[in-house]
């Protein structure tokens, strides 16, 4: 068996009303996912500025995932629709610049989808682990 020493660092932005609650539900149901995932609570996925995503990579994140309510279910009616467009363009631009497209993801996770939250995180972490360390968007000054 091969030992993989690499532990990725994943930043997950979760909207307060659906995805953060979904993450809580995953906890309530004791559905485990890797501790590499660290969640930041935002009121709505539309609060996530592309600069935050880039900031996370700069500071050493290996993957960034944004979770929000399912389209149509936004607590603020339309926030996640804006998120969807913003992140579509951002991700496409990162891909265009040659940044691995697997490192960024948007998932819609409702407050009832604890299992989806856990499986999404498991999947994302395993994809990033395969991909390895983020080299293309790193800022060497921030390395320890």
């Amino acid at each position: 068996m091969q030992v993989n020493e690499f532990k990725p660092l994943i930043v997950a932005f979760c909207c307060n009303w659906c995805s953060y609650a979904g993450a809580d539900l995953a906890g309530n149901n004791r559905l485990s996912y890797p501790a590499d995932v660290k969640i930041i609570r935002v009121p709505c996925s539309c609060r996530v500025n592309p600069m935050f995503v880039l900031r996370a990579f700069q500071r050493g994140a290996d993957g960034v995932i944004i979770c929000g309510c399912h389209p149509g279910d936004c607590h603020y009616t339309s926030g996640n629709y804006y998120t969807r467009r913003r992140m579509t363009l951002l991700f496409s631009m990162l891909d265009y610049l040659g940044i691995e497209k697997e490192r960024t993801r948007v998932e819609w996770v409702s407050a009832a989808e604890g299992a989806k939250f856990a499986s999404t995180m498991n999947d994302f972490v395993s994809k990033i682990t395969q991909l390895g360390k983020n080299k293309r968007l790193e800022d060497l000054r921030c390395k320890k």
Partner: protein
């Protein structure tokens, strides 16, 4: 003085590169000359001057000064300086050689800038006489002779031969290193070329540009001139002129929080930027006109005021060809100067 045929230049470069990092002007993919670290295959470009002068080899655009680390509520200060490696720059034109003299005045006078000084000590400059000045060149306005480029070694390229003349001890030592490629030459052999360049310079469109009306003691006369408003009207306030200028030496010092500590670094600043020299009370040049005026007053009046009449411009013409709105020091000098 020594000479060797042009075919040997790569061998000479290889020899120099054995003991020091060597930078030469070489064309990039856009056919623009840039100082490139020499390695086998790097082709010398001697037809036109580099996009940007050699300034950043001595005064990089960003440079770490020191670092701090806080642990357990204690601060540790780390010196980030590393002893610079020896390096050689080949192909520096007379204007850029002169620009280093201007930078030296700033950085090597007291208090001495140890970061700059360290690089100056480690760098050998091999100049190159101009063969084909651009229409934007006006170095002669500031008394610079492109036919006598100076620095540690002066170089002329005449037909199929390079002539190298050591001007300093470091230059002489370097010539010794490449001794086996060269044959002795007489200074008279380059006289014709010097003559040719001098004649050429007189034919340039900006050859008649004069510094009359500028220099020491002209502050009061020029400061309130109403033409500044008109001249600065088109200026976008970008930093292009400053960053391509071989003599601009202003920098800002900033802290970068890495999360695990702080890196204190400096980076080039531009007097065209709205927060240039911003202080606790705010900004002392609030309008674009004031910032625009600062740049030219600095080069043409304040710098000579403090440096025995030495102008802060070397006439390299870079700002002229790079300004997005084609507003430049020549237009300023013509508008405000004594005569044309």
């Amino acid at each position: 003085m020594v000479k060797f045929s042009c075919e040997k230049i790569d061998l000479v470069f290889a020899e120099i590169a054995k003991t020091a990092a060597l930078y030469i002007p070489s064309n990039d993919k856009n056919n623009k000359a840039v100082f490139t670290k020499w390695q086998k295959g790097t082709k010398l470009c001697d037809s036109h001057n580099t996009q940007i002068g050699p300034k950043d080899l001595f005064f990089p655009q960003t440079e770490d000064l020191m670092a701090f680390k806080a642990s357990n509520k204690k601060i540790e200060i780390i010196d980030t300086r590393k002893e610079s490696e020896d390096f050689v720059i080949f192909g520096v034109r007379a204007c850029d050689v002169k620009s280093l003299e201007i930078l030296d005045r700033v950085f090597l006078s007291e208090p001495r800038d140890s970061y700059y000084a360290m690089r100056r000590e480690h760098g050998i400059i091999i100049s190159l006489a101009c063969t084909r000045p651009s229409e934007a060149c006006f170095c002669t306005t500031f008394g610079i002779a492109p036919s006598e480029p100076g620095a540690d070694i002066s170089v002329w390229k005449i037909n199929n031969e390079f002539f190298w003349q050591a001007n300093t001890k470091r230059g002489e030592e370097l010539l010794l290193k490449i001794e086996h490629f060269t044959t002795p030459a007489e200074p008279s052999e380059v006289e014709g070329e010097k003559q040719r360049i001098s004649v050429l310079m007189k034919r340039l469109p900006l050859a008649n540009l004069s510094t009359n009306g500028f220099g020491k003691g002209k502050t009061n006369e020029l400061f309130e001139r109403e033409e500044w408003a008109k001249l600065s009207e088109a200026c976008l306030g970008c930093g292009t002129c400053t960053f391509v200028c071989p003599t601009c030496q202003c920098y800002d010092i900033k802290d970068f929080n890495t999360g695990n500590g702080v890196i204190r670094y400096r980076c080039w600043d531009s007097c065209m930027y709205s927060d240039f020299t911003k202080m606790a009370h705010g900004n002392n040049r609030n309008t674009r006109k004031e910032r625009f005026r600062q740049r030219f007053m600095h080069k043409l009046v304040y710098f000579p005021e403090n440096n025995n009449g030495l102008f802060g411009c070397v006439g390299c013409g870079r700002c002229i060809s790079k300004c997005p709105v084609s507003m430049n020091i020549v237009k300023v000098m013509k508008k405000l100067g004594g005569n044309v």
